[in-house]
C-alpha cells in the first residue's frame, strides 16, 4: 500500500515537474520578440482602433507595417501627418501624400426642391427607420432621405446637414473612416479617392424616364458622358453612369456635357497644361493628341496651349518626348462661386 502511494506521488510529482519545467523553458525559448518599431508605430497611430485600414485595430496595422505588408500611409484616419511619423520610425522616405486619402462623398443631389417626396413621414426621425417604411418618403428610391444618420455617426464632425436636406461633407475634416458609408441605409455615401474631383452624384438605377419623373438632377443614362470621355473612364451600368476612378483624370468633359448636371466637379481645381518654351521643339505630337484641340502651333515652332480650351487631361504630357509640358492648377483653393465647389466644400 505504502508502495503505491509512493509511486503515485513520485510519478505524478515527476510528471508535473517535467511538464511544468518544460513549459517554463519553452516559454523562454519560444518567446516571440516583438519589434520595437511596432510599438512605436502604435504610439504614432491615432489609436481609435476603427479598422478603416482593414486590419484588426491599430496594433494589427502596426504589425503589418513592420512586416512590410501594409504601406506606411495605410492609416486613412491619420492621413499624411501620421504617415510622415511612421516613415520616420521605419526609416523610409514619406511615400504617402494627402492625395491618396479617401474621402466620403454624398452621391446624391436630390435635395428637397429637386427630388420631391412621394409621401409624408411622421415617425422616428432617422434615415434607417424612414427607409423601412415603403423605402422612405422620397419619390426616388435611391435618394438621400436627409434625416442625418451620417451626421450623427461621424466621429470627427465632418458632416453637417445642409438647409436643402442634403448632408455636406467637409473634405478637409473627413478622415475616410467609412462609418457614414456603412450607416447610410440608402448607400448614397461612398468612399472615393481624394484626388478625384469628378463624381456622378446619382445612384438611381431606374430607367432614365422614371428617374426624370422623380428627380430633376438624376442620371438618366443618356450615355453622353460615355461618348465624350477621352479615357474610357465613365460607363453607364444599370442605367446610371459610373466613373472608373483609376482611369479618370479629372478632365471634367463629362461634367460639361451632362444634361441633367448629375455629374459634378470642382472646376476651379481643373489643371491646365502649359508648354515650357525652352524645351518645345515643335514636333506637333501634342497638338495631334489633344482631344479638345487646345494646342496649336506650326512644325518646328513653339506650340501654344489655349488655356480656355484646355481641360487638363494630361494626354499631351504623356505624348511629349521632351518633357516640355507641365500641369499647373489654375487656382489652388476651392471657391464658392459655383454649385460644384459649394457642394464639395
Amino acid at each position: 500500500m505504502a508502495n503505491i502511494i509512493l509511486t503515485s506521488l513520485l510519478s505524478m510529482g515527476g510528471l508535473g515537474l517535467v511538464l511544468g519545467g518544460g513549459l517554463a523553458i519553452a516559454s523562454k525559448k519560444l518567446a516571440v520578440e516583438t519589434d520595437p518599431r511596432a510599438d512605436a508605430i502604435v504610439e504614432a497611430l491615432p489609436g481609435a482602433n476603427c479598422g478603416a485600414c482593414g486590419y484588426p485595430g491599430c496594433s494589427g496595422l502596426s504589425k503589418a507595417i513592420v512586416e512590410g505588408k501594409a504601406p506606411i500611409n495605410a492609416c486613412p484616419v491619420g492621413g499624411a501627418k501620421v504617415a510622415a511619423k511612421i516613415a520616420e520610425i521605419m526609416g523610409v522616405s514619406d511615400t504617402g501624400s494627402a492625395d491618396d486619402k479617401k474621402i466620403a462623398r454624398v452621391l446624391c443631389q436630390g435635395d428637397k426642391s429637386k427630388a420631391k417626396n412621394k409621401s409624408e413621414y411622421h415617425g422616428v426621425m432617422t434615415c434607417k427607420a424612414a427607409s423601412m417604411v415603403n423605402g422612405g418618403p422620397k419619390g426616388c428610391a435611391f435618394a438621400c432621405i436627409g434625416f442625418g444618420d451620417c451626421v450623427k455617426v461621424c466621429p470627427v464632425n465632418a458632416i453637417t446637414m445642409g438647409e436643402n436636406g442634403l448632408p455636406i461633407i467637409d473634405e478637409e475634416k473627413c478622415t475616410g473612416c467609412n462609418l457614414c458609408v456603412k450607416t447610410c441605409p440608402k448607400m448614397v455615401i461612398a468612399l472615393t479617392p481624394g484626388k478625384n474631383e469628378v463624381h456622378v452624384r446619382c445612384r438611381a438605377t431606374m430607367k432614365g424616364k422614371d428617374t426624370r419623373a422623380v428627380c430633376s438632377i438624376g442620371c438618366i443614362a443618356c450615355k453622353q458622358c460615355e461618348k465624350v470621355c477621352p479615357f474610357d473612364a465613365i460607363h453607364v451600368k444599370d442605367n446610371v453612369a459610373v466613373i472608373d476612378y483609376d482611369k479618370c483624370r479629372n478632365c471634367m468633359l463629362c461634367v460639361e456635357k451632362c444634361p441633367t448636371k448629375s455629374i459634378t466637379a470642382a472646376f476651379p481645381t481643373r489643371k491646365k497644361a502649359v508648354i515650357i518654351e525652352e524645351k518645345c521643339i515643335g514636333c506637333t505630337l501634342c497638338a495631334k493628341s489633344c482631344p479638345v484641340n487646345a494646342i496649336t502651333g506650326e512644325v518646328k515652332k513653339v506650340h501654344v496651349v489655349n488655356q480656355e480650351l484646355c481641360i487638363g487631361c494630361g494626354i499631351c504630357i504623356e505624348k511629349c518626348r521632351k518633357d516640355a509640358i507641365k500641369m499647373v492648377r489654375e487656382t489652388q483653393e476651392k471657391c464658392d462661386s459655383c454649385e460644384a465647389c459649394a457642394a464639395s466644400k
Binding site: 503505491i4 503515485s8 505524478m12 511544468g20 519553452a26 516559454s27 519560444l30 516571440v32
Partner: protein, 196 residues
C-alpha cells in the same frame, strides 16, 4: 494494418462520431457552430490537439501508468495534466512558428483544454489497447469527426437564420432538436465497420 487504420478513422468519423454517437464535446458543438468559418477553425484546432494528445496518452499509458500499476486511479488526473500542458505548449509553438495560424485559431486553442472529446479519445486508447499508429489514427479520426459534425451543424444553423422558427423553439431549443436529428442520421452508419 492499412485496412485496420482505415476502419479506425472511418469509425471515429462516421460510425462512432464523438459528438453525434458518443455525445462528447457538446459544449463546443453547440457553442461554436453558429458560423461555418469559426466552426472550421475550431475543428482544425481540435483535430490538431487531438492527434497530439493521442500520442501523449499512448506514451503516458504504456510507459508510466501501466508499468507502475497506477492506471485505475491516476489515469484521468494524469491525462488532464498532460492535455493542459500540451495545449499550452502547442499554443506557444504555433505562435512562434506561424503567427498566421495562431491568429486563425484565436481563442479556440486554449478552449480545447476543456473539450471532453480530447479526454474521451485519450481514455479510449488504453481501453482498446491501441498501438502508437492506431492511437494517432484514432486521434485524427476523432478530430475529423468533430470537424464534420461542427461544420454540418453550422451549415444548418446558418440556413436556419433565414427561416421562420416557431417562437417557443427559437435559440438553443431548435439547436438541440437539430443536434438530435443529426445524431439520429448518424445512427444510419451503425454496422459500417466492426466496433473497437
Amino acid at each position: 494494418m492499412a485496412k485496420e487504420l482505415f476502419f479506425i478513422i472511418i469509425g471515429a468519423v462516421f460510425v462512432n462520431n464523438f459528438v453525434l454517437s458518443r455525445f462528447l464535446g457538446q459544449c463546443p458543438f453547440l457553442g461554436v457552430s453558429s458560423k461555418t468559418e469559426t466552426a472550421v477553425g475550431m475543428g482544425m484546432a481540435t483535430t490538431f490537439v487531438l492527434t497530439m494528445t493521442a500520442v501523449a496518452a499512448y506514451f503516458l499509458q504504456n510507459y508510466v501508468l501501466a508499468p507502475y500499476g497506477l492506471e485505475p486511479f491516476l489515469q484521468i488526473v494524469s491525462f488532464i495534466l498532460v492535455i493542459a500542458s500540451l495545449v499550452q505548449l502547442v499554443e506557444m509553438v504555433v505562435l512562434k512558428i506561424s503567427p498566421a495560424l495562431y491568429n486563425a485559431f484565436g481563442i479556440f486553442l486554449p478552449l480545447i483544454t476543456t473539450n471532453c472529446i480530447v479526454m474521451g479519445a485519450a481514455l479510449l486508447i488504453p481501453m482498446y489497447k491501441y498501438n502508437l499508429i492506431k492511437s494517432i489514427a484514432l486521434g485524427l479520426g476523432a478530430g475529423l469527426g468533430f470537424t464534420l459534425a461542427l461544420v454540418l451543424m453550422s451549415g444548418i444553423r446558418e440556413e436556419m437564420e433565414f427561416h421562420d422558427v416557431p417562437e417557443a423553439l427559437k435559440g438553443p431549443a431548435i439547436v438541440f432538436i437539430t443536434a438530435g436529428l443529426l445524431s439520429m442520421i448518424f445512427l444510419g452508419f451503425t454496422g459500417l465497420v466492426p466496433l473497437g
